[in-house]
Amino acid sequence: MDHPAPLSSELIGRESDVVLFEVERGAIRKFADAVQDQTAACVRGDVAPPTFPTTFRMTIPGVTFDLARVLHGAQEYRYERPLRAGDRVRCRVRVADVYRRQGRLGEMTFLILAMDGTDESGNPVFSGTTTAILR
């Protein structure tokens, strides 16, 4: 298994491209099925479950790590409205912070990612903050 270079604070502010994601009814239904989410509108595929933005996967140049060594420490989502089938959202993720801290398992790197999604008129739909812990 390869071990990429440790992440440094030089990455703060670095962004992904803006990526257009189309919210597909089938993808909503598949997500709700996996979660066994019984919310009627989600089962029908009309409305996406609140954590659906996790399916919007983007990469930031220079931010690479060994997946098996990453812990998901925390996650936050804020919503203007729910995502619905047929929505086309423009998303971007940015490195908000990188810092090291001593933990139970030795020195760990904390990577804070900020994500946002806007509709086609540029109105905010949701935003998110991810705390990833690299050991």
């Binding site: 298994m1 993808a27 598949k30 997500f31 099925d33 996996a34 979660v35 066994q36 989410d37 019984q38 919310t39 009627a40 509108a41 989600c42 409305v47 479950p49 609140p50 954590t51 996790t54 399916t55 996967r57 997946l67 098996a68 060594r69 990453v70 812990l71 998901h72 420490g73 925390a74 996650q75 936050e76 989502y77 804020r78 919503y79 409205r81 729910p82 903050t129 705390t131």
Partner: protein, 142 residues
């Protein structure tokens, strides 16, 4: 269980404990399905061999699966149009066979343009009553 539970609860105040939502036991099949549906293909969630190479006894659930349970819980409580915020920390590992129950307590109530907003303490706990995913949420009660 799809209606907004909270609409029928004008009596809520700080400290009120809300009805809980018990999820079925987590299975390895569910983790495979969640990996596919979410796009999180980290093999520590689906392959025991990979999980052991990083010091785990076997696969562990995606933290985001427990957060998805809490998302469903908020939709059940308030309706999917009324969920405004969900913020969690993943504090304990969840394994196949674990049964999670979502719980919430009212922290405070505020009033804004859209009506009442409830600020909740939320958490998912396992069958041993250990809190595995903890955080806070905001929902509108219109």
């Amino acid at each position: 269980m799809t209606g907004p539970v909270l609409a029928a609860r004008p009596d809520l105040e700080s400290g009120s404990v809300l009805p809980d939502l018990r999820k079925p036991p987590i299975t390895k099949m569910q983790l495979v399905k969640y990996a596919g549906a979410s796009g999180d293909y980290n093999l520590i969630h689906t392959d025991d061999e990979t999980a052991r190479t990083v010091g785990l006894e076997g696969v562990i659930a995606h933290g985001m699966l427990s957060m998805a349970f809490l998302g469903e819980y908020l939709c059940w409580l308030a309706g999917p149009e009324s969920v405004r915020r969900l913020s969690v920390r993943f504090v304990e590992m969840v394994r196949p066979g674990d049964t999670l129950t979502c719980r919430a307590r009212v922290k405070e109530q505020t009033t804004g343009d859209a009506g009442r907003r409830l600020h909740l303490e939320v958490w998912a706990e396992n069958q041993r009553a250990e809190r595995v995913t903890v955080g806070e949420a905001e929902v509108d009660i219109t």
